[in-house]
């Protein structure tokens, strides 16, 4: 008996330790520190359901432990035959009715929150962003503002932003744990959800529906900035001149190489509804390359030389001529200079 209890206790301590060491996870990624409306709604229900269910768990464990201690067969009881009880109407009613009440306590706020988060009656009065999920990147189309971008999605804080989501290939799922729960991005119908970030920040977004070999590398960012900064960003993006010549010679070579190597067949620079590959208008401002690499020139050159090694199964591999080291270098220089706005991930802090 003692050994059994002891082991259970050490197990409990060990797991508790693991949790404490891991903390609540990385800020602006974890769902445990909600910083947006949807995440807060979910968190409220997570806390409520945890409390209700822990109550049940504790009762079960108490009865279980007492039963084991009191009624374990002891020495000298080998021939003891306990009373054969058929049941007990009162007890059985109690443990049927109480769970029904507990379920109701949880069901009512769940239904209320479900309808609240699905409410899109006033969508047209707010910012609308059309999102296309692709293997393995995200396209963002601010249809009213006529801005297209990818990977980094800019939103103003304190406002509802409606996302209208469709997939171009397989099912993806749009998830920014710190701001909101997820919604699937299906190929057959537009799914609408709204998000609202409470404070400025760069929030980590992930694809949550299994979509192929690079599913785990389909990250994106939600960059929440103040409404003023958001207005400035929109203005900057709208006034981009896609034909502008870069300043230095290397970047100019890069622009030429970009055009020669049929990059433009898929990647638009400036406002363009076409989205075979990510729109690169503000590439130099982006927080990551290919969704998850630090935005250094070395990483970009590696990516341009052999994207398959970095993101297996991507659609860019094999769709452009082999690049020389020099070409890749100049294209990288050109792309990293595409910085149309002063509003960057740094503007949002962290």
């Amino acid at each position: 008996m003692k050994g059994w209890m002891g082991k259970f206790k050490s197990l409990f301590l060990l797991t508790s330790l693991a949790i404490i060491l891991a903390g609540c996870g990385r800020e602006n990624l974890t769902a445990l520190v909600p910083k947006g409306y949807g995440a807060e709604s979910s968190m409220n229900l997570i806390i409520l359901s945890t409390i209700v269910m822990t109550f049940v768990l504790v009762i079960v464990i108490i009865v279980y432990v007492i039963a084991l201690i009191r009624f374990r067969r002891k020495k000298g009881q080998e021939n003891f035959i306990p009373k054969q009880v058929e049941g007990n109407k009162t007890l059985e009613t109690v443990w049927t009715v109480i769970p029904i009440i507990l379920v109701l306590i949880l069901a009512v706020p769940t239904v209320a929150a479900t309808f609240d988060l699905a409410d899109d009656t006033n969508a047209s009065e707010h910012i609308n962003i059309d999102i296309t999920g692709n293997q393995y990147w995200w396209h963002f189309d601010y249809a009213n503002e006529e801005i297209q971008t990818s990977q980094d999605i800019y939103i103003p804080t304190g406002e509802k932003v409606y996302l209208n989501m469709l997939s171009s290939d397989v099912i993806h799922s749009f998830w920014v744990p710190s701001i909101s729960g997820k919604m699937d991005v299906n190929p057959e119908n537009v799914n609408t959800m709204y998000i609202e970030a409470y404070e400025e920040g760069v929030y980590w977004g992930k694809c949550a529906e299994f979509c192929g070999p690079s599913h785990s590398l389909m990250d994106f960012k939600v960059i929440a900035v103040s409404p003023e900064e958001y207005e400035q960003w929109v203005g900057d993006m709208q006034s981009v001149d896609p034909e502008a010549e870069p300043q230095d010679a290397v970047a100019q070579d890069g622009k030429a190489a970009f055009e020669e190597n049929s990059c433009m067949g898929c990647h638009a620079i400036g406002s363009s509804p076409a989205a075979v590959g990510p729109n690169l208008t503000n590439f130099g401002d982006r927080s990551k390359i290919a969704g998850f690499l630090d935005p250094t020139k070395e990483n970009l050159v590696d990516w341009l030389m052999d994207p398959e090694a970095i993101k297996p199964g991507n659609k860019m591999t094999g769709n452009y001529p082999d690049l020389s080291e020099e070409e890749a270098n100049s294209i990288a220089e050109y792309l990293l200079q595409l910085q149309p706005s002063e509003i960057t991930p740094e503007s949002a802090g962290n």
Binding site: L11, I19, T30, V56, V60, Y64, G87, T96, S180
Partner: protein, 617 residues
Amino acid sequence: MSIAATQKRGFGSFLWDYLTTVDHKKIAHLYLFGGGFFFLLGGLEAMFIRIQLIKPENDFLSAGLYNEMITMHGTTMIFLAAMPLLLGLMNAVMPLQIGARDVAFPFLNSLGFWLFMFGGILLNCSWFLGGAPDAGWTSYAPLSIQSPGHGVDFYVLGLQISGAGTLIGGINFLVTVVTMRAPGMTYMRMPLFTWATFITSVLILFAFPALTVGLFLLMFDRMFGSAFFDVALGGNSIIWQHLFWIFGHPEVYILILPAFGLFSDIFSTFSRKRLFGYTAMVFATMLIAFLGFMVWAHHMFTVGLGPVANSIFAIATMAIAVPTGIKIFNWLATMWGGSIEINSAMLWSLGFIPTFTIGGMTGVMLGSSVADYQYHDTYFVVAHFHYVIVGGTVFGILAGLHYWWPKMFGRILNEMMGKISFWIFFIGFHLTFFVQHFLGLMGMPRRYWVFLEDQGLDMGNLVSTIGAFFMAVGVIVFLINIIYTAVKGEKPGDDPWGGRTLEWATASPPVYYNFKQLPLVRGLDPLWIEKTEGKGKMTPAEPVGDIHMPNSSILPFMMGLGFFIAGIGFIFQVDHSAWLIAVYAGMATAIGSMLIRSLKDDHGYHIHKEELEREAD
């Protein structure tokens, strides 16, 4: 010379015996062997997954191979390990518990096993024939349609064949329970494990057709150019999710209800007490099964079905907690006031209660749709379903194996090793999966081949991988125990546990006709009644007479083999039409065997009264 005594035989005749057997006890051995083999295979795949996730951005497995591992781990564990192991226990015990000499359709019983086995082998052949399926065990369209190579084709045909076997097995058990109960064995006197087998069979009967339909549509889409799930051609990929989960959710209860049943028998036996609230237990099981068909869309809360559908399915899901809670409290009440003996079988059952309660607790949490927007497709879900499927089904299978091993094989598993394997596995299990609840909420989606550095996920994943190694060691100790027992195990006699139900009134292992005379059942726990109020053994319900027995047959094996060959042909005929020869040859073998079975009368044989009387009591 006893007719039941095993004689010295060559390996050839031993093998032939098992290939042709229609005896439910030997088919149980086959199921346990087949399911056990696939369990080890699935466990190996699990270890590869955990090694890949031991540290951030690990490169132990490539992305493609990792996806094949997770797909095969899930598919193998559900379809080829957990279900067959349960079917093995049902086969071994249920006919004995109702006082029957065999199942209703012994030939179909054998056919069900061989279809499962050949389906499982076909699925695993994919590893050597161009790559395993890589679209997840749920195989969502359109990913499963776009998946290159033949992996998903193996998934479709392997599951189709083994699913047919399961369906046949389910129908067989239904008919057996309805028609073959011993005199006096009314429905409300059946042991809970028999009830669970009965209700599980109903679930199989209604759930598997949905999978069959889904798999056929997927097969046509991949092989014959149809477009049921192809959005570009007017199809709809969400339909797959509905079909899959209309099967898939009842499937979860197909896995857990038999475990509930055997835990009920074990708690009752080792507390030396009648099961508390028998009637409530039976109806709770039925209610769980019924509600199990009403909740499939809780796997689809984030699909965008709208708030009405999400609310209805959320409430239906939470409602399942009520009958499940009734069962947990009834088990506790069964132990309360009893005389509890703690041995290996009971340890696995006692380990089940806290583990499964945590799994049920997270189940209700997942049922809250808005909270699920965060949990869905993360490691929280992975943790939840391992708590219920490992903590419920696997603990249940291991409890059942320890409990019925002496009945099935005549030898008792070693207690010491049984306890060691339990503790190592139990601690390893909680180390592996408890922390995954938090990983999920900290932003780790499931089916991630790598997780990135500096995301706060390193520690949790490391702990989880360490736990997985503990689980592996626990399983290895159990395997050593099996080998040790086979060689040196004690022979404990017919009724080592002070059993209450009819299986303990037979020999260990039972003679091939189970009961010389069918027993007369006088109430719930019939053997216990005779022990406390009667002569200590069952009263016969009939005089000694001729016993009608079925003949062995190789035809079920041949049918399975035929479908296996045809399956290979179907998969590769897309590449070259010469493979159609395999389709024709396989189908000819299968249909030819069916024709022989239909046209050639097989009346079985009789064991004559005189032979039975000659055998001393």
